[in-house]
């Protein structure tokens, strides 16, 4: 099987599974969950294969219907994309595995569609495809957030819906303006064309894109919905929302910014927004009494850190951003799964009472996830934070570092407040679904093992050095897309 079909499969498999879900669903919730899980496992295997290939041999470009860029649609899977894909699919699999047995086929179908949309979003190589996948993602997220149809779920869903609709309209306006100016939708073509646009126009389009993608991504001041959606949503959805959805929107924003808006003023805007997001989210998070809402503020803060990392424009910043991304995805996913499951079991999200039905696996999961999130050595978060600080020093932005320090300490305090409630509880809860247990143990082990794998794997480090700079380098991207002579496949 040629390698170019893999990216397409990443999108097609969950989509087809979502439609084929009809058959298992007639037999009940459990077969439907098993079927969904199997298709997500298949997705993960495909992602791993693609990851292995791309790490060794460079980007994979899939062309549809033999229309070579800049005329046709293409999927572009480079190093940054496959990392996102690998971990995103991994989290989806774990999140689903830990979901309760009372979730119906509607839930599973929506999760599959979300997975398909995420994969497509990260892979797509032209801006309108990004819009389409983004819309699918948004719509599915709205539905999943309001899944329980309780009062608070509907409230969260409506706020998310209105903000998300305005955002998608802004995104479409931006695309309209871009197309009007450039005549092409392909990201590589846009990169070439955007060199000649006036800066005022670029500012306008960037602002619209920022609204469009920033709402979904959790950037201040557009992240109000995030803190309502997390407490109200079911915990696998929270895990995926916080872990991969907001980060994928961030990924798209960064990809477009790197290709179409390379001027330093845009990096400065993102840096400012990143600092504001981090500072304000951590400050507000300190006062939270709702466990899941607290974790949501921590998510927004980490997104701020990632924004800072990616907008420093040095190698260190980029690697730091990637490490922060992986670390946040795994640790926040793990935290949401365990905290959310505990809240469900004890019917309360208040800090003092949510841990009353905890199990030993919960304690392990929360401590592992929490310490990784905070960047306690030797977790990935620690390496990420060190590289972030080194990047800030090299970019002469140490003032930002001084500003970040008190808020990192604040984050440590409130996360420890959450964690201490868990490990001091008596751990005699009753589990409804053993999947929660297994998912927690596996994710904890992964979190513990990953730093040693990453830091000691010589080949990975070499490839990092060689291939890291390439993905976000617009010229390389454009060259590889335009130099395309491979035969495409029928899409």
């Amino acid at each position: 099987m040629s390698i170019e079909i893999l990216p397409v499969l990443l999108f097609i498999v969950p989509l087809a599974a979502a439609f084929a879900l009809y058959f298992p669903s007639r037999r009940g919730n459990k077969p439907s969950k098993i079927f969904t899980f199997l298709s997500l496992v298949a997705n993960l295997i495909i992602a791993i294969k693609l990851f292995k290939y791309v790490v060794v041999s460079g980007p994979v470009i899939t062309v549809f219907s033999k229309w070579v860029p800049p005329l046709g649609i293409n999927f572009y899977a480079d190093f940054m994309a496959v990392i996102w894909l690998l971990f995103g699919n991994m989290l989806a699999m774990f999140a689903l595995f830990s979901s309760r047995l009372s979730y119906t086929w509607r839930f599973h179908g929506l999760i599959l569609l979300m997975s398909a949309a995420l994969n497509g979003l990260i892979l797509s190589g032209d801006i309108f495809n990004i819009f389409v996948f983004f819309e699918i993602l948004c719509l599915v997220s709205f539905a999943l957030v309001a899944y329980y149809k309780r009062k608070e779920s509907i409230e969260a869903g409506i706020k998310y819906f209105v903000l998300g609709s305005v955002a998608s309209a802004m995104l479409l306006i931006a695309i309209a303006l871009i197309y009007g100016k450039a005549g092409t939708l392909n990201l590589a073509g846009l990169s070439l064309a955007s060199a000649s646009w006036p800066i005022g126009f670029k500012m306008l389009v960037f602002g619209l894109l920022l609204i469009g993608l920033g709402v979904e991504s959790g950037i201040f001041p557009m992240n109000g919905w995030l803190f309502d959606a997390h407490p109200a949503a079911p915990y696998p959805v929270s895990a995926m929302l916080s872990g991969i959805v907001i980060e994928s929107s961030l990924y798209v924003l960064l990809r477009v910014k790197a290709l179409v808006f390379p001027e330093p003023v845009f990096a400065k805007i993102l840096l400012l927004l990143g600092v504001l997001t981090f500072v304000i989210s951590e400050a507000v998070g300190f006062f939270q009494r709702d466990a899941k809402r607290l974790l949501a503020y921590s998510s927004a803060g980490q997104i701020g850190l990632m924004l800072i990392a990616f907008s420093i424009n040095t190698t260190f910043g980029f690697i730091a951003g990637l490490l922060l991304f992986v670390n946040h995805l795994l640790s926040k996913g793990l935290l949401f799964i365990s905290v959310g499951a505990m809240s469900d079991r004890s019917n309360s999200r208040d800090l003092n009472s949510f841990a009353s039905e905890s199990v030993f696996a919960d304690k392990v999961a929360v401590i592992t996830g929490g310490l990784s999130l905070l960047g306690v050595p030797p977790s990935l978060g620690f390496v990420g934070k060190i590289l972030l600080f080194i990047g800030l020093a090299k970019a002469s932005l140490l003032g930002v570092a001084y500003l970040l320090v008190p808020f990192i300490v604040i984050e440590a305090l409130y996360i420890m407040r959450l964690i201490s409630r868990v490990y001091l509880s008596d751990g005699k809860g009753h589990l409804e679904c053993p999947g929660q247990l297994v998912a927690q143990w596996l994710l904890s082990l992964l979190l513990l093992a990953l730093p040693s794998i990453v830091l000691t794997n010589g080949q990975l480090k070499n490839n990092f050095a060689k291939k890291i700079i390439k993905p976000i380098n617009a010229r390389q991207y454009v060259a590889s897309v335009n130099g395309l002579t491979r035969k495409g496949i029928d899409g």
Partner: protein, 525 residues
Amino acid sequence: MDNLAVFFAGLTVIFFIANAIFTLSAGFKRPVAMHILLSLVLTAVLVLLYSTKNLIVFFALWEVSTWLTYFMANNPDKSRKYLWVSLFGEFLMLIAVVRTIAFTGSMNIASVAQLGVVNVVMFCLPFVVKSGILPFNFWVGDMYTGADKRFVAYLSAIIGKLGVFGFLRFFIETGIVSVGLWQNVIIYLAAITAVWATFKAVASEDAIETLSFSSLSQVSFIVASVLLLNQYAMLGAVLHYLNHMLIKTGMFMSVVYIWNRIGSTKFVDMGDFVMRMPFTFLFFLMLGISLAGVPPMGGVVSKWLMYEGFVSQVRLLPVLLFFVAGVGSFLYVYRLLHSIFLGRKKKSMEQISEMNFIAILPVAVSAIAAFLIGAYSKPFVAQGSKALGLDIDSLKSAIGFADISIVSIVFGALVVFAIVLWWLLPRHRYVPDTEGYTAAAYLPEKIELWDYSYNFYAPVARLGEKFVKFFSLDWLGAFWMEYVSELGQVVRGIYNGALHVYLMYIAIVLFLSLNLWGIIKEILK
């Protein structure tokens, strides 16, 4: 591993073994296996910390030790101050580390000094924080009294003095020999901290609290001596590390053993334990004499060296303050001895018996070692100076000398004389008495109202009350918390849940992106 690392690592490992032996045999009611495992991990981390010269490894291990200490103390509420102030110091150290790596390209501790005083101060900040020196002294009381009793000995003996190691490693690597402004500031702060801690120890009603503030007082002295950068002072500091470790090991273990039996560490619940725990009393007495810095016990060796260092540098104000703190230590050592082992018998006496042989072993070894350091000080002084790379082997300096062995011999002779006297003279009769004689008056329930061991040093405590209150920084904390809470509530209002407000934020961003270029053009026209 260089000599400094060997010295510290060796002491830490020895302490770990002693602590493990004690923990297993002291009869704790809660399971100890996990605890011993965690302290093994902590010991391993610390040994690595002692041996590294790499900036990032040093920082990472320092942070791990902070987190491990927090978890082992097992009391999130009381350890919180420790956590945030330690983390704050550590992140400033991280910025210093990062600046050093980014601007000098080297990963060695030695290059921290190349970027100026600010870098040095930021790097050394966690050392000051861990040592509990003003203005970072507010975490000590809560952390020690709230810490898990299985861990508090480790906390005092090793963790409390990590800052000392940090400073020693820093100065030895960077080779700084001049005492600049920042060092002087810390020396004075340490002096004030020592006096403050002594007052707090004297006024305390809880044995663990007394011991913890005593630790703080001693550690401040050690840190100030290190910062003096005088070879006698630094040698004294290293030896005092050893002495203090021995003293606090023995004392904390005795108190924790008592706590295991009677469930309390308050002085009012203890009394006259010497009748049941004579050996513990003997060892405690020896350690107390060492703590006070009186010959023939080892405490005097290190204290003498430190005083020599200060006096030879003509730093009379700090050394005077430290001397006041030292005199204060007589007070609380006597308080400990009297309120725990002498004095009136209390109800808790029924639960007390002598420490079992295995548990008392570390205490005994500490006490005997304390005596040996005094009587045969040469090998210990030589070891200490080897750790520092110096060449001193006796207590002889430019301005004086001390030969403790002579004092030990004289002391030994006096002890023999006292025993002979005790044998010859008539004994007193022992009258059992568990309740006070009240002439049939009704005794109040609260023992604090009539037991004379309560508020033992009231006059001294009153003397230092205002001083202690000021430097406890509680007023600063209260002010800060109020200010921060109000600010926090305002910031919290950003996310007040109203959909229209969130839409307004989007409108603001939209407005900004629409008008920015136009406004700029207007301004430029």
